[in-house]
Subunit: 206 residues, 2 copies
Amino acid sequence: MSSIPLRPGAGNGAAPGAESERSDAARNRGLLLHAARELIEERGVDGLTMATLAQRAGVGKGTVFRRFGSRAGLMMTLLSDAEAGFQGRFMFGPPPLGPGVPPLERLIAAGVERIAWVLEFGELARAADVSAHNRFDVPAAVLWHRHLEMLLREAGGPADPWLMATSLSATVEPERILHAVRVHGIAPERLAGSWRELVSRVACRA
Amino acid sequence: MSSIPLRPGAGNGAAPGAESERSDAARNRGLLLHAARELIEERGVDGLTMATLAQRAGVGKGTVFRRFGSRAGLMMTLLSDAEAGFQGRFMFGPPPLGPGVPPLERLIAAGVERIAWVLEFGELARAADVSAHNRFDVPAAVLWHRHLEMLLREAGGPADPWLMATSLSATVEPERILHAVRVHGIAPERLAGSWRELVSRVACRA
DNA sequence: GGGCTAAACGGACTGCGGTCCGGTTAATAT
DNA sequence: ATATTAACCGGACCGCAGTCCGTTTAGCCC
């Protein structure tokens, strides 16, 4: 009948790349993600070790690394839902975060939302950002950077929107934000206020 | 005669803290620092392992960790000369980096100098900045932050100089600067140009 | 010089991220 | 049902940062 065989395990929630996936592999990925969320809930992000995770999920350590490549890869996978949600909101969501208002307003909203996002998921993001490549060249980071760059360009402010977007991006990095809040006790509203002032000065003509 | 006994090993170049230091300890620290510089020259910062360092210096591994606490501590020690030089220049050196010109000019000079410093010593700084504490709460980092904050305050620009200094500081972090130059091929002059624009917009009234 | 003590020494040990490879199994073709 | 094979599995293994503790020694006092 069908010349195209069914690919078991394809099309389930967590994207297995472009290829399909054997059913045992899919099952193990599910087990691992579940166990990972459980362990993080119990012991925090830093309390999760790859060996413990393997044991909890009832698989070998090699399997964990084949699925996620590295600890950072696992964290990125765990983060992907939260990141996708954030992306969706600033690209297609309602104003002032999404399109429909002047660029400066969107920039302000983007930073405020980002700060809130970091406060919620920053711990995970920190664990995912072990290398410069993971921090800057991963699709989510590139997208965020481009979004800021585009808004700066629309606002017609800086002469070098790419680098200015880099500066803005640096301002709201998880490590810095979490440190400011947790160690220096800076209130999130104060972070938002400084962000507002920063982008207001940077994203305007003259 | 003298009721104050001589403290052997005290007063040599590399500050041993507030206390004195036994002669063998001082000798080993010298050997270790020498061996470390040698190894970094040969294999790069990332190619230095604590075990290799111990072996090269002809001491045990425990000794390395007692002297420097951690790999990051060793890197900070190796960096301290370069950092002291940089600090001296922006605090007491000739204008426009040192005092004697309007704050905006000093801010511009500070960033340009910092970028150059990072290009020279950033690899070491990256290895020293393993934790948030090492990155933000170490004396050199605090001093640099305070310097930027003070200049912003003098310029009378932002309403929240402390946080604005944090943003400026984030812009010239080693990881970002090195990544921009090495991966994206951004020319240092372009970094300097963007810095100039950033501080010009941030550090002015109105 | 000889004894005393606090400090320094050094290497075995642990825990972790990450790799490797021989054995196993899911999917397919016959 | 059986054979084939590509993908998957698992745990032994490696290198590294960092710790621990029994041993050695520098500096001081007599």
